[in-house]
């Protein structure tokens, strides 16, 4: 079957066998930041943004993204440099092995989009679906909090756009 969707801003078409998951589709297209940690929705390492909301790509079928917007960690940095979340989580020491990191970054983009100035409890709640075995989460939480502050200070959204009135 054929799927067309937008991947990190680029219109993308792919031919996949029926039953292909979104995780398989994206990894097959080279978006290998989408990690397979369990293939059954438990770990969050495959998290991507589907129309701006974090979803576990291993639980969706490729066909479900037809005509929709998908964003992965490959789509976070721009020519200018790392996304504030990438920068802040890295600087805070929130990356150890880094296997969970792309999924966590996508969950965090979703979180800061909904709640630009989250409390520690809200950050932890926002990460509840993403398992990290290395860090104990302290420095990931710190990084997300720092990113929120950076975004607020520069008046930008998680997309890198100027924040509008709405």
């Amino acid at each position: 079957m054929r799927v067309s969707f937008t991947l990190n801003g680029t219109v993308t078409q792919a031919e996949v066998p029926p039953g292909t998951t979104l995780m398989e589709l994206l990894r097959g297209l080279g978006a290998v930041s989408v990690k397979d940690g369990c293939a059954r929705g438990d770990c969050g390492s495959c998290a991507v943004l589907l129309d701006g909301r974090a979803v576990t790509a291993c639980l969706l079928f490729a066909g479900q993204v037809e005509g929709r917007q998908v964003r992965t960690a490959e789509g976070l940095a721009d020519e200018v440099g790392l996304h504030p979340l990438q920068q802040a989580v890295l600087d805070a020491g929130g990356v150890q092995c880094g296997f969970c990191t792309p999924g966590i970054l996508m969950a965090a983009v979703d979180l800061l989009d909904r709640i630009p100035d989250p409390t520690e409890a809200q950050i932890r709640e926002g990460l509840a679906g993403n398992l990290c075995r290395c860090t104990g989460y302290v420095k990931i939480v710190d990084g997300i909090r720092d990113a929120a502050a950076m975004l607020a200070a520069t008046g930008r959204t998680t997309d890198g756009e100027e924040a509008g009135d709405g």
Partner: protein, 775 residues
């Protein structure tokens, strides 16, 4: 100590950080698939103990797309150990690639290599196996019972006593422990039991293999031990080591479970037999069933002390369940004593006796903490019980007894890694400061013993103290090579294995510090058996201390060569020259840049490559120390435990990268809290783990944990690179005893069996008469 250094002690940008946050293809499974790649699937035993009477693979082999089916009938019959340890491995050779007898649920029966994973999996269903089911051995007691079925009834010469299901035995004696206990003013006698836990790296085991352009076998593996993997696979498959290359790219966590040669042999044999590339990743279910776990143990500790609390006698008796195979059975067992007993070194009478038994249960192996986790749980609960019996504050009792700088213990010498240990005196110990600082931060003086109640929840605080080692003395070996490039940058090549700890960065910092370079000018290459010098690998908390020393030595040698070249250029006495900010300067202020020196050495006069290789074999293993504190709340209605606050004060010597060091403690404590409270393979009465996915084996999520606070205490170890020791494992030992002691403070019950589930807590509360049912 950070002020002394420009790079060490600073939170430098990780050398692999940008690649990791941008999702670059740096993990094994991310590398592009080679044309013609075969995918492997594994058939495992549904029985805990059975003989394979017949296995018929004809239908599987006939399936379109199947290239190879491996069973015990067509694979080498050689025995080996999957333990990725130095040569000769101190683990019994009791394992075969495939075996006509299966010994645990998850043991290998067959592997299929096919054009696609779907085909390989479909083919598994076409393999007909006829089993003769045998009586399984499902507990330590069953293994030791008279007339117990034998897990290994084949000759097993290097197991301790396979005819009685004993894989390994270890003992150490100093003084006369029975006399010491008899003469003591106060004694305690505690027995604890621990359960099966799994490491759960978020990246499962994954290996890809291919033949390179010279028909050499290449294994790209998520391993902690690339050099051991090469040696063990070579020996098992009879391939000369020079025909094998093992590459470790970034790996997604290990925690000990990737110190096993679990699937490399399957990929290697498939590629050698078919000439085709191959790949395999464990499923999460296989990670639970067919991988490695933490040894469940029963440990009895008896302590005897004077009236003033000075310890006189310590007796430790250990029964360890190694499961179906003895990988790491001896060394984990001896570590229970060797990483626990020296902490209280005043007692003249000490005895350690341990046995590791075979069962038809999941195979235990190396797991962060490596026996210290179990041993220190027993010891630290016993110490709290002794404090209570003496009417002493738990901090005061520990302060009176714990080892200090300059102290030694007969255990260092008596218990080593499967052989005698190495005598050592503790070269740095800031445990006193750790206890003080941690106690202050948790509010020990105001909260301990208060049993503050809120509704059905009652609060308590507890603590424990811990040690580990820094590498294995006189066994571990690491090497590093450095060469200078045209622009004054360096290549640092290390065999050391960054398993996600950030050790590439830490080792880069050490080289940068010695050579007065910014870290960006250090190009770190690690863990490639063709490209980097030898290193025993990432285990035993060795990398910073052992590999770091090799890096420091190589860097000093390169610095000396830079100075020698600069002396020619400046026409100066080399002994007067100084290295700073990528330049070599003489006392008059004349200087030359590294770049100038490199250009001259490579293209100008006295041409040569400025480069050096150095090795390190540690003579001692300076322990890091921590004091761990927690505040818990226990719901006396339900038995639920909540960890409200967790503080660790740590002495790891110089923290080369403080945030990475803190992260090691935080991650280890998080894992330890999960293991203490909920994580459990939950083996059923037929030997099958009920945990088959992350829904049923719950590891802590961000919402399950308090904000773990790490305080790095000022410390400097004179034997370590720039004063560094280790920090990677120690934190995982703390939560079992710290939480158990805090729950006792809250409720009066002693939790001596893990995990501390609500049911278990409630039962203990009821038994004590303080549960909701009775009052």
């Amino acid at each position: 100590m950070a002020e002394k250094y420009e790079v060490v002690g600073h939170n430098e940008r990780r050398v692999d950080g940008t690649a990791l946050v941008t999702g670059k293809p740096v993990f094994v499974a991310d590398l592009p698939e080679r044309p013609g790649t075969l995918h492997l699937a594994l058939l495992t035993s549904p029985h805990a103990h059975a003989r394979i009477r017949a296995i018929d693979t004809a239908r599987a082999e006939a399936l379109d797309g199947v290239a190879l089916v491996l069973t015990h009938e067509n694979t080498p019959d050689r025995t080996y150990t999957t333990a990725g340890q130095g040569y000769p491995e101190p683990s019994p050779y009791d394992t075969r690639m495939f075996n006509p007898k299966v010994r645990f649920v998850g043991d290998r029966v067959a592997a299929v290599a096919a054009d696609s994973l779907a085909t390989a999996r479909a083919a598994l269903g076409l393999i007909d196996v006829e089993y003769e089911v045998l009586e399984p051995v499902l507990s330590i007691d069953a293994a030791l019972a008279e007339g117990a079925p034998l897990v290994h009834d084949e000759p097993c010469p290097d197991a301790w006593d396979a005819e009685h299901n004993i894989a390994a035995y270890s003992e150490a004696v100093a003084g006369d422990v029975e006399a010491g206990l008899a003469a003591a003013h106060t004694t305690v006698d505690v027995t604890i039991e621990t359960h099966y836990g799994q490491h759960v790296p978020i990246e499962p085991h994954v290996v890809s293999s291919y033949l390179d352009e010279h028909d050499r076998l290449v294994l790209v593996s998520s391993t902690q031990v690339p050099f051991h993997a090469r040696r063990i696979v070579g020996r098992l498959l009879d391939v000369p080591i020079h025909r094998i290359r093992v590459i470790k790219p970034r790996i997604g966590g290990g925690f000990g479970v990737k110190q096993e040669i679990l699937i490399e042999d399957l990929l290697a044999l498939t590629t050698l037999r078919t000439g085709r590339p191959a790949t395999m990743s464990y499923t999460r279910e296989q990670e639970f069933h067919a991988s490695r776990t933490r040894h469940p143990m029963r440990i009895r500790v008896r302590l005897g002390a004077d009236e003033d609390g000075t310890l006189q006698a310590i007796d430790m008796d250990v029964l360890s369940n190694t499961g179906a195979y003895g990988t790491h059975s001896l060394t984990v067992l001896s570590n229970v004593g060797s990483k626990t007993l020296p902490l209280y070194n005043l007692a003249p009478d000490v005895r350690f006796i341990g046995k590791a038994v075979y069962t038809n249960l999941p195979v235990a192996g190396a797991y962060r903490g490596y026996g210290a986790t179990q041993g220190q749980y027993a010891m630290e609960v016993a110490i709290d019980q002794l404090a209570e019996a003496l009417g002493m504050d738990a901090l005061e009792l520990r302060a009176r007894n714990h080892i200090r700088t300059g102290g030694t213990s007969p255990i260092f010498r008596a218990l080593g890694e499967g052989r005698e240990g190495v005598e050592q005196t503790v070269s740095s110990c800031e445990l006193e400061a750790c206890i003080e600082i941690g106690a202050d931060r948790i509010g020990w003086a105001t909260k301990r013993g208060r049993r503050h109640r809120e509704g059905s929840w009652v609060h308590g605080i507890g603590m424990s103290v811990h040690m580990q080692g820094s590498g294995i003395p006189l066994i571990d070996m690491a090497a590093a090579s450095i060469k200078l490039n045209d622009d004054g940058s360096i290549n640092l090549d290390v065999g050391a294995t960054d398993l996600g700890t950030g050790s590439d960065t830490v080792l880069g910092q050490i080289a940068a510090e010695v050579l007065a370079l910014p870290l960006e000018k250090v190009i770190v290459t690690s863990s490639d058996t063709d490209r980097t010098p030898f290193d025993t690998g990432a285990y035993a908390s060795s990398t910073t201390y052992v590999s770091g020393t090799a890096v420091q030595r190589a860097a000093v040698a390169v610095r000396d060569q830079l100075i020698a070249a600069a002396a020619e250029m400046l026409d100066a006495d080399p002994t007067t020259l100084e290295v700073a900010s990528e330049r070599v300067s003489d006392p008059d202020g004349d200087s030359v840049s590294f770049e100038k020196i490199a250009l001259r050495a490579l293209y100008g006069e006295n041409q040569h490559q400025i480069a050096a290789t150095a090795s390190s074999v540690p003579e001692s293993s300076p322990p890091p120390f921590i004091a761990s504190f927690a505040e818990v709340a226990v719901d006396t209605d339900t038995g639920q435990i909540r960890v409200l606050d967790y503080v660790v004060a740590a002495d790891c010597g110089t923290a080369v990268h403080p945030k990475l060091a803190e992260g090691q403690i935080e991650g280890a404590v998080a894992n330890g809290i999960g293991y203490a409270l909920v994580e459990d393979l939950a083996i059923d009465d037929r030997g099958r783990p009920r945990a088959i996915d992350l829904g049923r084996y719950k590891i802590p999520a961000a919402t399950d944990l308090p904000r773990i606070e790490t305080i790095l205490v000022d410390s400097y170890d004179p034997t370590g690179p720039m004063g560094a020791k280790s920090i990677a494992e120690i934190g995982i030992n703390a939560p079992l005893p710290t939480i158990a002691n805090a729950v006792h403070d809250a409720t009066g019950i002693w939790l001596t069996e893990s995990p501390f589930t609500s049911e278990r807590v409630l039962q203990a509360l009821r038994a004590q008469g303080s549960g909701s049912g009775t009052g």
